[in-house]
Symmetry: C2
Subunit: 214 residues, 2 copies
């Protein structure tokens, strides 16, 4: 006889971006996002007003971290730009890089910016009816390209983990998402981006099926 | 170098209960649900009108079935009753019973009826803002207790599989969800229900962490 986990119902508030019965929550304030955006003077100029303001926050339900279990939650990101670059999350690849993630838009307008280990770039626009499937091995970051909060549900395997440093180690993601001057967005190349070397790429792919049965 | 799966965006129609870019779909018609409901004469009387009508349908996106990957989709169930028993899905436990599932209500009103291997019963009511977490080892079935289509998103580990026979082998689930005569629902005991024996229960729990790393 094992100790069964109890079923749970959580209520999503798609405007507030909150989740009832969450087991954890974290907030990222503007001041913690130093170095994320290309336009350093614009970032510094915003500090006075923005330093302690929450740019994005995550409420999650994390039953346990067993192989085969799932973690889910809600993420909310404010609208805004640093210079012409839209607010975004730090972004990550999973620590076990062969783990995928699913996002479901519930409010606002944004996109998922993805990058393969080799540096291929993909974008999936997200509105309040979009499910975005981030397959195994894609680095991913969400971007709020609208003028209201971007709220999404997410779900990923409980043993995924997050590696938040992979992006910084390459000088950012290869593409940046900026205002196109006509109320929309476009991507521009990030000149600071450095390709990952063959050893780093091989190490990422070596994790494939790390959770497979013996 | 491995062949990366391409990111995908799918659009959910929360009223139609459909999913764009789905990789598969199945429909359950009334005539296929023979034996599911308690009131056999009521079922037979509905056949003339209902036999070929779709009671529920599932559109899914199934990238592949690797350990650690995810399958997601949308399920839609018509409102209705057989006698006083609300329309429901056949229900299942995962073939790998330690796999969980997440549901997210998008339209209508219903509930998740769950039963542990030992026969404990749990219910999570679901409306268009509810995320329901079905933990590992719980048999689950959804029930439409409203008068419009019940539409939900779902997500589960790609290696879960479904065992649809576990319920039939016990003479149905332990509780049935029926009209309470006041516009709501209540549960009644299912007199045909037979507890699972100790060997069957042990076999279900033996799968625990079957997908754990060697």
């Amino acid at each position: 006889m094992i100790n069964l986990f109890e079923p749970v119902g959580c209520t999503v508030d798609p405007v507030a971006g909150s989740l009832s019965n969450a087991t954890g929550r974290y907030q990222k304030r503007f001041g913690e996002l130093d170095g994320l955006y290309a336009d350093r003077p614009a970032f510094d100029a915003m500090r006075a007003e923005w330093h302690d303001r929450v740019v994005y926050e995550v409420s999650e339900f994390r039953p346990r971290e067993d192989v085969g279990d799932l973690i889910f939650g809600v993420t909310r990101m404010s609208p805004g730009k640093v210079g012409d670059e839209y607010f975004m999350t730090r972004g990550h690849i999973h620590q076990q890089p062969d783990r995928p993630e699913i996002y479901y838009g519930r409010n606002g307008r944004g996109l998922m910016l993805m990058e393969s280990p080799e540096g291929e770039v993909r974008i999936v626009p997200i509105d309040e009816l979009t499910v975005c499937y981030v397959p195994p091995f894609w680095i991913h970051r969400s971007v709020n390209t609208g003028n209201v909060d971007l709220v999404m549900l997410f779900c990923y395997p409980a043993d995924s983990g997050q590696d938040y440093e992979i992006i910084a180690r390459s000088g950012g993601m290869r593409s940046r998402v900026v205002d196109d001057g006509a109320g929309g967005w476009k991507t521009v190349d990030n000149p600071a981006w450095q390709p990952r070397d063959a050893t780093t790429i091989a190490r990422l792919y070596a994790s494939r099926n790390a959770g497979a049965p013996a």
